[in-house]
Amino acid sequence: MVKRFFMKFYLVLIIAFLYIPIAVLVVLSFNASRSRVVWGGFTLKWYQILLHNSDVVAALQNTLTIGFASAAIATGIGLLAAIGIDAMKKRSYSLTLGIGNIPMLNADIVTGIALMLWFSRFTSLGYVSILLAHVTFNIPYVILSILPKLQQMDMSVYEAARDLGANSVTAFFRVVFPMIFPSVVSGFFMALTMSMDDFVVTYFTKGAGINTLSTMIYGELKRGIKPEMYALSTLIFAVVLVVLLLANFVPEIRQKQLKKAAM
């Protein structure tokens, strides 16, 4: 029991570490003062301003569509790649993995400029070029998330599925995929996160007139971040949190209700 208490305590501590800065931002979003170090009283005005700012809404839209699309594409390619790489011999294995990690180990600005030079040469810069760039730096995160799980897995169940008449694709989706699903999810979320967070690569690969939240926020750096951004972060955060809680607890509650009804 004592041990359990300590375990929970540790868990809370880590979660607190991850969330305290977020709490600071939430508080700032209600700060009437434009300065982040001066408390000017409680206000909701930033939320109002936010909702009427079409630029912010547009940037949010771009951020989300690029985020989800690039994460989805990266997850698809990364998943296939992880399966393929898992089957490789040692040398091609480390080579492929090593080269694949380049976008991750390059300073963002190098990746950004390299891609800008590249895109400028062959296509125009715009929405699509951001998307391609995001997919590029997202893939390694997906692979690094899925590959270890594949390596740890006991492949005998895959054989069993093949034996029962599943072709390799079906066997994969019905048996292997459910087992590696959690890591696919975390790969997807890592990719989504990296995409939403990126500034430098986006900045260099975007076309004129297109903004994501991060290019917008960076633009404001010099003159002070607008409190609307705190409000926006708080909103995003709150929405995701609510969705999350619903997704996790609604099935449970429903099950309980069903059980009750059955009795």
Partner: protein, 357 residues
């Protein structure tokens, strides 16, 4: 065997430079029950994996209904397997595990439901549909693995020690059920077991393997009563295997005593291996048998007692339903027809056997 459904032709397989299967050829008839029998590590599972399509032989072919399927993928073969390690899908319930193959074949819901119920009944696990494989005991998991394979009604079913984790009672029930299924559905069974009695009871034909080589192929009675070499004799049941000399037909000299026997056709004074089953050793009063001996140990085996008898410098194994306690002096007798005479091994292949005795 014109009706062969499966021909294994010259299969050879090595791991890390060690030959695991060595030029293995077998023909298996339609609706036959064939058992692979052999010591641990002799290549039984490897053979099944090649038939199932999970391993490719280094050399040789697998012919199924006249077509070469050596390189066909497992899902395209009309063959199902019950794996030695069960390999149940841990993220599916028992019911979903069993339904897996049927759903792939797009069977109707009600058909699948019926099949699940039928299969669970067969393996004596009614009502386990919604259980999770991880919460089952070893034997229960094994039975689910059988159910999962059988509902697909394959043409050939490979079973890798499918009853290994079951108790005698259940094993016997399952043995009967398996044979019933085989006959009802007309499935060809290729069975791996390490249980000699199981092999003898269930099989139409037994293939005795050792170190990747086939030692003998034959019906259970053939194998048991007429082992072709000392390895088979020894492996297929407990035996007394002794060196002997044949001065002439129908007479063998063992440990200095002449024993009348029924074997002929050996060279005069040929050195031979003599096999006598322990249950064929008969106990008489001292002096009334072919040689006298002293009981040195006794072990209760349920159906009978197993005794060791020291006689003429050899420790004989003998079974009897009557207990003779250590120290008892007795006479040993063997009927001529119960004495098996075999040539000594000469070839390399047979040398292997000798080493394993």
């Amino acid at each position: 065997m014109e009706q062969a459904i499966l021909n294994l032709q010259h299969l050879t397989k090595s791991f890390d430079g060690k030959k695991i299967l060595d030029d293995l050829s077998i023909d298996i008839g339609r609706n036959e029950f064939v058992t692979l029998l052999g010591p641990s590590g002799c290549g039984k599972t490897t053979t099944l994996r090649i038939i199932g399509g999970f391993a490719t032989p280094d050399e040789g072919k697998v012919i199924f209904e006249g077509k070469d399927i050596t390189n066909l993928s497992p899902d395209k073969r009309h063959i199902n397997t019950v794996f030695q390690k069960y390999s149940l899908f841990s993220h599916m319930s028992v019911g979903e595990n069993i339904a897996f193959g049927l759903k792939l074949k797009k069977k109707s819901k009600s058909y699948i439901q019926d099949k699940i119920r039928y299969a669970l009944k067969l393996v004596d696990l009614e009502g386990f549909e919604d259980r999770h494989p991880m919460s089952l005991s070893g034997g229960q998991q094994q039975r689910i693995a059988i159910a999962r394979a059988i509902v697909n009604e394959p043409e050939v079913l490979l079973l890798d020690e499918p009853l290994g984790a079951l108790d005698l009672k259940l094993r016997q029930d399952m043995q009967q059920e398996l044979i019933k299924i085989k006959n009802e559905l007309g499935i060809t069974f290729i069975f791996v077991t390490h249980d000699q009695e199981e092999a003898l009871t269930m099989s139409d034909r037994i293939i005795v393997m050792n170190q990747g080589l086939i030692q003998q192929v034959g019906t259970p009675v053939d194998i048991y009563n007429e082992p072709q070499n000392a390895f088979v004799a020894d492996f297929i049941g407990e035996s007394n295997i002794i060196d002997g000399v044949m001065p002439k037909d129908c007479l063998v000299e063992i440990l200095g005593c002449p024993f009348p026997c029924v074997d002929t056709g050996f060279a005069p004074n040929e050195n031979v291996d003599v096999v006598i089953r322990p249950e064929d050793m008969e106990f008489l009063e001292k002096g009334k048998g072919m040689m006298d001996g002293v009981v040195t140990s006794i072990l209760f085996k349920g159906v009978h007692y197993e005794m060791k008898v020291q006689a003429n410098g050899y420790e004989w194994l003998a079974h009897s339903t009557i207990a003779y306690h250590p120290g008892t002096e007795i006479g040993l007798y063997v009927k001529p027809e119960n004495i098996q005479i075999m040539h000594k091994p000469v070839s390399a292949a047979q040398e292997v056997i000798k080493k394993n005795e």
